[in-house]
Every structure is written in structure tokens, then in C-alpha cells.
């Protein structure tokens, strides 16, 4: 496989970890930043093409480093809804995850016996949110709703599987 090694030796000298979008802080004291011992002449003929057209396809193949922001559309068929813009004056906010989803999760433990719902990334008045949630969920369930607020980490833990009910509640309050 002479093909593979001659190319990789040639390139290893010039490849660095990754190209950043902002000014890269150069590290002068590490192995990677130190210059390569000596240049190896490639034996096979090749041509270097700087054609921006082809580079467009490479850019398309490369992954994004940051999660893109959703674009405003008139309808979202998948049932996903973006968060409303003016949330400043709301008493509390359930911030969307970096993937723009509502952070309400189901945790199953004790071999499937215990099912707890977690509402994460809560900002603002967490106790008020808890009261409203319990009020809303109590209507549907015959058992009393038992919940636990962790103020420091902004997480509410509710006993029982209420994930989709809470997502409906939050969407109704256009959070």
C-alpha cells in the first residue's frame, strides 16, 4: 500500500488539529506547534487543485461545530414548536436544550418499577412552576402528585410518567 503511506507522510507535516472560526491562540511550547524535522519528497506525481467549486463539496461534507439556530417557518409538520421570543417578563422559564428541545425526561430505575419525570434547565421562580405543575397534573391522576424541587440545580423531579403531559402544559403556556 505505497499509495497510502506516501500521501500521509506528505500531509502529516502540514495538518494541524482544526481550523477555528475565531483568532486561534497559538501554543509555542508544544510538540504540535514545533516545526517538522525535515520535508519528505513525495515519489508519485499529483496535482494540487485550489478550485473553490470542489472545496464547496468538502465544506458540505464537514460537520458544523455549533448547533444551528432554527429558522422561523409558518408551519412545523413534525409537531415541534420553537420557543417564544419575549420570555423576559415571565415568572419562570424552562430553557430549551442546545438541540432546541424541551428538557423533560423520563428516568426508569429499580428494574422498571420507579418512573420519575425530570424537568431540567429551569430559570426564575421554580417553586411557582412546581405548584402550577402539580395543580395541572393532579387533575388527571387519582394519586397525589409527589414532587421534589432542587433549587440549586434548577430541576423538578415528579413521581410518575408525566413527560408528555408536562410538554403539553409548557407548550400551552408558550414556553
Amino acid at each position: 500500500m505505497s499509495l497510502r503511506c506516501y500521501f500521509s507522510q506528505l500531509l502529516r507535516s502540514r495538518l494541524s488539529a482544526h481550523s477555528n472560526t475565531y483568532k486561534n491562540s497559538v501554543r509555542h511550547a508544544t510538540y504540535k506547534a514545533s516545526p517538522f524535522a525535515e520535508d519528505i519528497e513525495p515519489t508519485v506525481k499529483y496535482e494540487v487543485s485550489k478550485n473553490p467549486e470542489e472545496w464547496k463539496y468538502v465544506e458540505r461534507a464537514l460537520p458544523l461545530t455549533i448547533v444551528p439556530q432554527p429558522i422561523r417557518k409558518e408551519s412545523y409538520p413534525s409537531g415541534w414548536k420553537p420557543q417564544t421570543e419575549d420570555v423576559k417578563k415571565l415568572p419562570y422559564l424552562v430553557q430549551r436544550t442546545k438541540n432546541h428541545m424541551i428538557p423533560v425526561y423520563l428516568q426508569i430505575s429499580q428494574r422498571g418499577v420507579r418512573r420519575h419525570t425530570f424537568v431540567r434547565k429551569i430559570q426564575g421562580d421554580i417553586n411557582l412552576l412546581e405548584q402550577e405543575l402539580k395543580e395541572f397534573l393532579q387533575k388527571e391522576s387519582f394519586q397525589p402528585i409527589r414532587s421534589q424541587v432542587n433549587e440549586l440545580t434548577g430541576i423538578i423531579r415528579i413521581n410518575g410518567d408525566h413527560v408528555n403531559a408536562i410538554k403539553y402544559f409548557l407548550e400551552k403556556k408558550n414556553l
Binding site: 500521501f7 500531509l11 495538518l15 506525481k45 463539496y57 464537514l62 460537520p63 409538520p77 415541534w80
Partner: protein
């Protein structure tokens, strides 16, 4: 309006400066790993009085004191026969795909293939465990409404109907393990600085699937595919929507059976630092990559 973070930050203004000596972890975060050696940890060292617990002589898992054990009682059944040979295709549902499009994780102005799905960072694929790409499942078929040019590795008829009713195109394409490794993490592959591998032909038992126009195989004849589109439209009772021309160009884009990435030929070496593509000039290499 009680905001915990604001409350905590205001409180910090009046507390002494946080330093290494005045912080601690949550109570109970670290359990003592010490064993009972002595000074009340001794006596039976927490192992209780005699018996299997103290002598650590429990019976082995599955043993039933000489009785014919449960896991040996039943005759053989070839449930797992050939499990390591059959190809696997982790599922992507139409609902997932629609959600990715709605949240702008996938760009519908460009053809969508395995590289685009893996670049969202939400799916995992292990080619060394016989994963040969993704299969499209029909959950959410009735709400799917996006004009896309999709390339997937396996799919079923109702799914093809759902995509084509929405005005898109779908092709099923085979990728061998080596090309999958290149497509899963494209940045890491380009940084290795090796030529883009040549995509292999499908194995004998898959050639028939990928050359059948009903499955929109990438080896089948395009005319037959357009005929099949009409057949499917009549079967599922929808009319093929008229395609407006500015996205018609994108919808027509297809890969060559030997190609892995759109627009990049096998044999090319991509250099990320100098933003340059190295193309071989050797006759023998060119002929190898083109065949």
C-alpha cells in the same frame, strides 16, 4: 420573583471571598472506602455471623442445588444463528427526519445522505458491528411533507410513497464498511490525509435489492424508476406533485456508484489546513479509481 441564580450571586457579594479552604462538595457525595479494620470496625468485619455471607460461599449463578438447572432444561433453538453475518441498519424514522428538518439541523436545499445525517451528531453507527447504514422507517409517514433528495441504505415501499407524495426523491445506496468509516467522521477522515476510498459493489445477496427500480436502487435504470414512481402514485392514490425548477436541479443530483461524497472523486486527498485537494496524475491510479 425568586430567581435562584440571582439570589445566589447577590448572596456571594456579601460573603467572604471564595477560596480553596472555604468550599466543599455536597454532603454524602464521597462515601468512605475504608474497610472495617479495627476500633469497632473489627469483630466480624461487617460480614455477619457464619453462613454463606461470612464464608463467601454462595452457590454459583444458575445452580439449583443439583436440580436440572433452568437454563439447561430446554432443547437447543437456533435463535442467534448467523447473527454476526446478517447486515444491520439502525432505524431513522420519517418523524425524526421531519423534526431534524424543522429544527434546521438538516439543510434541505442540498441532497441528504448518510454524511448529512451523521453530521447532525444525533445518530451513532458502528460499521465494525455489521451496521451498513440507516434504514428509513414509516413512523410519521402521514405528516411528512418536505421536498428532499434523500439517499438512504434501506427502506420500504410505504416510506418511498410518503417521500414521493411530498414531492421528494429517495434512492437506496450500498456502502461498504471502509467507506462508512470515512463518512461517519468526515473531519477525522480528512485529517488522516489518505485518499478517499473507492466504494465497493454490493455483495451478491444485496445486488438484487439495489438494482431493483421498485426499491429506487442506485444501480437501477432511471427510466424504470420514473415508471415505478407512477405505479406507486396510483397504488397509494396520490398524484406526483409538479417540481418547481430551482430545486429540480438539487433533486436530480446523484452520486456515482464509486463515489462516497457528493462532488469528490475517489482517489482525491483533501488537505484541510491548506484548503487544497490533491489529485493523482498517475495513469495506473486514475484507471484504478475510475473503474
Amino acid at each position: 420573583m425568586s430567581n435562584t441564580t440571582e439570589k445566589a450571586l447577590n448572596l456571594l457579594r456579601y460573603l467572604p471571598r471564595v477560596c480553596i479552604s472555604n468550599i466543599r462538595d455536597n454532603p454524602g457525595a464521597h462515601k468512605q472506602a475504608r474497610r472495617g479494620r479495627g476500633q469497632h470496625g473489627g469483630d466480624y468485619h461487617g460480614a455477619g455471623n457464619k453462613g454463606a455471607k461470612a464464608r463467601q460461599s454462595y452457590t454459583r449463578l444458575g445452580y439449583e442445588m443439583g436440580n436440572n438447572p433452568f437454563y439447561l432444561r430446554f432443547p437447543f433453538e437456533p435463535y442467534y444463528k448467523g447473527h454476526h453475518l446478517k447486515r444491520q441498519y439502525p432505524p431513522v424514522s420519517l418523524l425524526n427526519l421531519q423534526k431534524l428538518i424543522d429544527t434546521n439541523r438538516i439543510d434541505t436545499t442540498k441532497p441528504i445522505d448518510l454524511v448529512a445525517i451523521m453530521n447532525t451528531g444525533l445518530f451513532r453507527l458502528y460499521p465494525d458491528q455489521q451496521h451498513f447504514g440507516f434504514q428509513l422507517t414509516d413512523e410519521g409517514a402521514d405528516i411528512f411533507s418536505a421536498k428532499i433528495n434523500l439517499e438512504i441504505q434501506w427502506t420500504s415501499e410505504p416510506v418511498i410513497a410518503a417521500i414521493e407524495r411530498a414531492g421528494g426523491f429517495v434512492t437506496t445506496a450500498y456502502y461498504d464498511a471502509q467507506s462508512l468509516h470515512a463518512m461517519i467522521n468526515t473531519k477525522k477522515f480528512f485529517e488522516r490525509g489518505i485518499p478517499i476510498p473507492r466504494r465497493m459493489m454490493p455483495p451478491p445477496d444485496a445486488i438484487e435489492y439495489y438494482s431493483n427500480p421498485a426499491n429506487r436502487g442506485y444501480l437501477s435504470d432511471p427510466e424504470k424508476i420514473s415508471k415505478e414512481r407512477l405505479v406507486l402514485a396510483q397504488k397509494y392514490g396520490y398524484t406526483l406533485p409538479k417540481l418547481d425548477d430551482q430545486i429540480l436541479e438539487m433533486l436530480k443530483e446523484r452520486k456515482d456508484p464509486r463515489q462516497i461524497f457528493y462532488g469528490l472523486h475517489p482517489g482525491w486527498v483533501v488537505n484541510l489546513t491548506d484548503k487544497v485537494i490533491l489529485k493523482p496524475l498517475d495513469e495506473e491510479l486514475k484507471e484504478y479509481y475510475a473503474s
